[in-house]
Amino acid sequence: MIEQDVQDWIGKQIAANDVVLFMKGTKAMPQCGFSMQVAQILNHLGLEFEDINVLDDMSVREGIKAFSNWPTVPQLYVKGEFVGGCDIVREMFQAGELQDLLKDKGIANNAETQTA
């Protein structure tokens, strides 16, 4: 894909899906430890999420970095908003902020049943 098309395509993915994880590998088979950590957190929260494997397409791999002004993958989007990469997602999860964010955005997850 040419660059503008990639940017449009990324925009469409994050508009069409509540939770999108740009990652190396897939949620079933992550191919990088950082991507795996974020996928595990999302799975732990019982979230339905769209996984986009940037290793499948070099133009997406580069395009997402420009799209978010963020130099690394994974990258998590919730309701079209960039949440962060591995460090931020993990920090937010541990602080309970990720669960709060999901709740605020009205996205179903099983955090309530786990943080009794």
Binding site: F34, N69, W70, T72, G84, G85, D87, E91
Partner: protein
Amino acid sequence: MAMDAADIERLIKERFPSATIDIQDLAGDGDHYAATVVAEEFRGKSRIQQHQMVYEALQGNMGGVLHALALKTSAPQ
């Protein structure tokens, strides 16, 4: 490819001269680092903005020669 801890610290220090910076070489391989940066410039910024500021300070090395830098940023207490 790898990058020295001293180079990482120097680039961050250039952008945030009064910051407290701690860099750990996690695996001893010069390729997996953790950095804690406490800087007044972060006050009032979101975590994403804080990390973006550090990435900018690293001048494109992050995601390139610098593969793994776990970042923790905050403003001074």
